[in-house]
């Protein structure tokens, strides 16, 4: 009979944990704030609540004496939260950089099935057909706003590791590119002059790769090119070097072909018509997408992998941290067994004891979460990194530690605190008073 009761109790606790985690994950921040307020009110105004507060105070007062073991909870949880937030910040930063590169006002056309600009090729005639298609916005003189572009890749040295080369993308752009990509601004020097083998460099590229200062020259396809300016755009284009398409084409013997055509749409609603017109044209076999869809898709693979790695590592660590917290809190309850038993003997009920142990664990967890998230925010927010993108070339991106991510970290911390505190708390409340009093 006793065994069945025990089993039932165990199952009930597990259900409670599962239910808590379910609700916890689903709850938006407003819900959690409301929960916190309700709990505070209960502590301040009900009799049980005030008792709980008294018991908690005693517990908290002794935390300092158990500094070593309490810091286990804090450090362990800080580690979990830090890793999780850092990995997610990396994945978010990468995705955001690529997402920001595109918009729904412009469309990009590649040879059918090529997936990335590097693999694509369009001859001059096809490029002209694309530019003249319906749905493309015309400028004041009635010419379509479009840019036929080439992307080649140069080997440059990474500043952080001078002994290794990195593939840096060089984009040859058409004359209309300034109208098409209005987020691009020259911040130093001037723009390139067509036909002169001049380059402008993105801010991210300049920061990551050696030899891109204004006035310096780099060798591409056996010829010297001069860097004449620096631009910002706040997106993946900042990883690139730009020149005019004709110069790049002649240096790399591409004739009059281009790799992609980017066009300004008359309006975002014109996209379906533009796409349909190109699909129906028998002279063409091309893939058409808005730049937004194109760049977002490029971040998908890596973002997914980073998120998966982050959450897997976070989960494994969380399990480690939960056991660390359980150990600590069981030891804490053990150390205070007499004291708790005395409280129960003089009339305190189980609930205040349970809640106070839980509260103590969750406060420690919250502290750990704040430390972990805070350190990651201080160290990694805006941290610049680069990796291989789909064009077989480097994409420079920044870590983005957003408020939402910090919040996710805190939520994980509190969830770990909840599980790590629950079992020791239940034990404290269930040990028979007489046994506990006799224990040393």
């Amino acid at each position: 009979m006793n065994r069945i009761k025990k089993l039932g109790f165990g199952l009930l606790t597990l259900l409670l944990v599962a239910a808590f985690l379910g609700v916890w994950i689903a709850l938006p921040w407003q819900g959690i704030v409301a929960l916190g307020l309700a709990f505070t009110a209960w502590m301040a105004f009900s009799r049980r609540g005030r008792q709980t507060w008294q018991v908690t105070r005693v517990g908290l007062a002794t935390v300092v004496q158990r500094l070593g073991s309490s810091s286990v909870v804090v450090v362990g949880i800080a580690g979990v939260v830090g890793v999780l937030v850092a990995m997610l910040a990396m994945s978010d930063g990468f995705a955001e950089t690529l997402r920001a590169t595109g918009n729904d006002r412009t469309a990009i056309v590649l040879r059918g099935g090529s997936q990335a600009e590097l693999n694509s090729i369009l001859d001059r005639d096809s490029a002209n057909v694309v530019m003249q298609a319906p749905g493309v916005k015309k400028d004041a003189k009635g010419r379509p706003i479009a840019s036929g572009e080439l992307v080649v890749v140069a080997n440059l040295t990474r500043k952080a590791t001078p002994d290794t080369d990195a593939n840096v993308p060089i984009r040859g752009v058409g004359a209309d590119v300034w109208a098409l990509r209005d987020q691009v601004r020259i911040v130093a020097g001037r723009t390139f002059q067509p036909g002169l083998r001049e380059l402008i460099v993105g801010k991210g590229a300049r920061a990551q790769f050696a030899g891109l200062d204004i006035g310096k020259s780099i060798r591409l396809a056996g010829q010297a090119w001069t860097v004449v300016g620096e631009f910002t755009s706040g997106d993946a284009l900042e990883s690139e070097l730009w020149s005019d398409a004709e110069s790049v084409a002649s240096a790399y013997r591409r004739g009059s072909s281009v790799q992609s055509v980017t066009v300004m749409l008359a309006s975002p609603q014109a996209f379906p018509a533009f796409q349909a017109a190109l699909a129906a044209d028998p002279r063409l076999k091309v893939d058409v997408s808005t730049t937004q869809a194109y760049f977002s898709k490029q971040s998908e693979g890596l973002t997914k992998v980073l998120r998966a790695v982050g959450i897997t590592v976070g989960l494994i660590m969380a399990i480690g941290a939960i056991f660390g917290a359980l150990n600590t809190m069981f030891a804490a309850v053990q150390a205070r067994a007499r004291e708790i038993a005395t409280l129960r003997a003089i009339g305190f009920r189980g609930l205040p004891v349970v809640v106070s142990v839980m509260l103590e664990t969750m406060l420690l967890a919250l502290l750990g979460g704040l430390v972990g998230a805070g350190v990651v925010w201080l160290v990694f927010n805006g941290y610049t990194a680069s990796t291989l993108g789909s064009n077989f070339s480097q994409v420079v991106f920044r870590f983005h530690v957003s408020g939402a991510l910090l919040w996710t970290g805190i939520k994980w911390a509190l969830a770990i605190g909840f599980i790590g505190g629950l079992f020791p708390a239940l034990r404290a409340a269930r040990v028979p008073v007489t046994t506990a009093l006799r224990e040393l």
Binding site: V83, G222, M317
Partner: protein, 388 residues
């Protein structure tokens, strides 16, 4: 060893705590296994088998091809044993997610890459079949290919002369990587450069190659031969960069760059934290047993045996959790690699990882045991028994 039962009893004195600590250690070593697999995946160029090979590629970037006419000129350089060529094909099987590492290679490529272990009869059929292709074991397993299968690969770069981007191939051989081959060798797909050249819509591929694989007569000639090869095309429009195969592979891995480094750094920090926490728990366990240790000393155990027992307890604890953790990593890593759809090519947990892991377990076990052990030998019996 004669105190084993005592150590064991001490370890499981508080079953719950030991279980929890074991779980933490298990988590730490599970992470260690995954970290080591990631590290191995990002440093795939460490194979010893290719020390006598150089790779000659365009100085400006890997996407630029080189003239095929260099072959005879490289061959003429003293110290060069053989020159093979390869072209990147960019193959995709059925779905863009199924990327196949595929190359069009010269006829002597398999002689240069002797780690590609293809049975002699299959090799004969391969040489006789124009559209023949040979694939690595792991790749064949991934898509369920068998010898005799007709497999269409879509190239992301090269259309056929007919304008069709899908190239039909006949699988005529499945090779095993010889021991010591670089990680990922068994994931590749090779076919004849001749077929690639004949059927290609780009006529220029007949006169160009992607890169040269140069086999040396001896590995110590690498520097001089590399310089001589690069001198052949200095100041031309196809300047080359020749490096050892290791350096070439490593530069590929380094292109992924910061990500590998950051993941490793993070996992390293995690490992460190978890171990720190375990050490604390261990210290706490010994502290609690102070009076027991005093009893042991009272009944005649020497300080050294007590020290040994406490150290052994730490090592045993680490070994129990660590071995379980690494074993679990052996199960988890292939699942993760499979789940990533070929994006993360994680090698299985090998002997090297196990050895490093075991060394770590002993070292950390001794370390977490050392502080409490020192307390134990310095113990003043009278004080300890009195609970002071």
């Amino acid at each position: 060893m004669k105190y084993m039962h005592l150590i064991w009893a001490a370890l499981f004195r508080r079953k719950t705590r030991t279980f929890f600590t074991l779980a933490s250690i298990l988590a730490a070593f599970l992470l260690f296994g995954m970290l080591d697999a990631t590290r191995a995946a990002f440093s795939s160029g460490d194979s010893v088998i290719g020390v006598d090979r150089l790779i000659t590629a365009s100085r400006y970037s890997i996407i630029q091809s080189l003239p095929v006419s260099l072959t005879t000129r490289i061959q003429a350089i003293p110290g060069v044993k053989a020159v093979g060529t390869a072209n990147w094909f960019g193959g995709i099987y059925q779905d863009p997610k199924n990327f196949v590492l595929s190359f069009a290679v010269s006829d002597n490529y398999l002689d240069i890459y002797h780690e590609i272990d293809l049975p002699a009869d299959q090799r004969k059929v391969f040489e006789a079949t124009r559209t023949g292709a040979i694939v690595g074991e792991a790749l064949a397993k991934r898509f369920g290919w068998k010898i005799g299968d007709k497999v269409p690969l879509q190239s992301t770069i090269f259309p056929q002369r007919s304008g069709d981007k899908t190239w039909p191939f006949d699988i005529v051989g499945i090779y095993k990587p010889a021991p010591g081959a670089a990680n990922g060798t068994d994931q590749q797909f090779f076919f004849h450069h001749k077929y690639f050249e004949d059927a290609n819509a780009f006529r220029s591929v007949g006169t160009t190659v992607g890169w040269y694989a140069v086999q040396l007569t001896s590995a110590d000639k690498a520097d001089s031969v590399a310089k001589a090869i690069d001198a052949l095309s200095a100041n031309s429009d196809h300047e080359t960069k020749t490096q050892t195969e290791q350096a070439f592979n490593a530069s590929f891995a380094k292109q992924l760059g910061d990500i590998g480094l950051i993941v490793s750094a993070i996992m390293g920090a995690v490992f460190f934290t978890l171990i720190l926490l375990t050490g604390n728990t261990m210290a706490q366990a010994v502290r609690e047993r102070t009076s027991e240790l005093a009893v042991l000393k009272t009944i005649g155990f020497s300080s050294r045996s007590v020290l040994g027992m406490v150290l052994a307890e730490g090592i045993l604890l680490l070994m129990l959790g660590g071995v379980l953790g690494l074993a679990l990593a052996g199960i988890v890593v292939p699942i993760v690699a499979k789940g990533s759809g070929g994006m993360l090519n994680l090698p299985p947990i090998g002997a090297q990882t196990w050895l490093t892991g075991l060394a770590l377990m002993v070292a950390i076990g001794a370390l977490v045991g050392a502080l409490p052990a020192r307390r134990a030998i310095r113990l003043n019996i009278v004080d300890a028994l009195a609970g002071r």
